[in-house]
């Protein structure tokens, strides 16, 4: 990811109380930033971005899946399972959540 792109996304993060049209863009920026921090092992910063997404859109599947993944990386399988179960309640068709929950349950 280029520095320019990151700056753009940081700018996007600053936006407050966006209109409905801008919500999607803000979520997209937050998810991208979250993933950037995740892949650089800055898990607290990543988690913060994913939680911000949930403040805007409490059902956001991608944000929830990433929070569960951070729990997995921290050897917190029970917490990860809880989040995957939440995803399945909100999105019963989520193949990613189903597959990961099965794997953590030893199936």
């Amino acid at each position: 990811m280029s520095d320019e792109k990151r700056e753009e996304m940081k700018e996007g993060e600053k936006g407050t109380s966006p209109g409905s049209e801008e919500k999607g863009k803000e979520i997209e920026n937050l998810l991208e930033m979250g993933k950037f921090y995740y892949v650089n092992r800055k898990f607290d910063e990543a988690r913060e971005r994913f939680e911000k997404v949930l403040e805007i859109d409490p059902d956001n599947e991608e944000a929830l899946l990433n929070i569960a993944l951070i729990h997995e990386l921290h050897n917190e399988p029970e917490k990860a399972k809880e989040v995957y179960q939440t995803v399945l309640k909100k999105h019963p068709e989520s193949a990613a959540a189903r597959e990961k929950l099965n794997r953590l349950s030893g199936l």
Partner: protein
């Protein structure tokens, strides 16, 4: 990579074969039940429906060329013993066989198998260990006093080198390996992670969040260490 044969594709045999295949090994899978053979045929190097006591049949598929044969015929003791006997006669060097009773195990040992396993007893032992020490991922008892265990690194270890932590001095334990989850991002933007293992880490290797330590030490010390988690 060594070549393996797995004879008997019940739950245990299938699981052994599947894990070997996942680790990149070549596996010859055998069972007399065509349905079980069909189930594994997509992933196994070669899967064949045949009677494991058919000496000519086993020879014709080249079983004598494998490095290790796993005989996981548990319930039918006669077939298990005959299969092992034939494999020995055909010159298979290493045979691991599943037993269901002590007598069955003794017969297998007398036939010269390299290792006898009781999957249920092993599972029972592992379950008990995981209940006593829930934070310990895996536990292999080497003797009455010593074991190898996989333990998630306590938070207070994070960011410190093995030298700074002083595991050997504080707990009289040796870190044999560090298992680390490395965050990844796919082309489609999906996050995931891959696992890497640092074998025989140096004293300067630092512990990161989420690391799992593979440690060798005294059993009583594991409880002390696992309390930190």
């Amino acid at each position: 990579m060594r070549q393996f044969a797995v004879i008997g594709l019940g739950r245990f045999g299938y699981s052994v074969a599947e894990t070997l295949i996942r680790k990149g090994a070549e596996v010859l899978a055998i069972d007399r039940d065509e349905e079980k053979v069909q189930k594994i045929s997509d992933i196994a190097t070669f899967a064949v429906a045949m009677d494991a006591t058919d000496e000519k049949g086993l020879k014709s598929i080249g079983i004598q060329n494998v490095d290790v044969a796993v005989v996981s015929i548990g319930e039918d003791i006669e077939s298990s013993v005959l299969a092992v006997m034939i494999l020995k006669e055909l010159g298979v060097k290493e045979i691991v066989a599943k037993a269901i009773t002590d007598l069955h195990a003794r017969i297998l040992v007398n036939l010269g198998v390299s290792k006898v396993i009781f999957p249920e007893r092993e599972m029972g032992r592992r379950l008990a260990n995981s209940l006593v020490m829930p934070t310990v991922h895996d536990f292999i008892q080497l003797s009455e006093e010593y074991s190898i265990a996989e333990i998630p690194a306590p938070k207070e270890f994070q960011g410190k080198s093995l030298k700074e932590i002083g595991i050997r001095a504080r707990y009289n334990m040796n870190v044999l390996a560090i298992r680390r989850k490395v965050p990844t991002i796919e082309d489609e933007g999906e996050t995931s992670y891959r696992e890497e293992t640092i074998i025989s880490p140096s004293a300067d290797d630092k512990i990161e969040a989420g690391d799992v330590l593979v440690v060798l030490g005294e059993n009583r010390k594991f409880q002390k260490l696992s309390k930190l988690i």
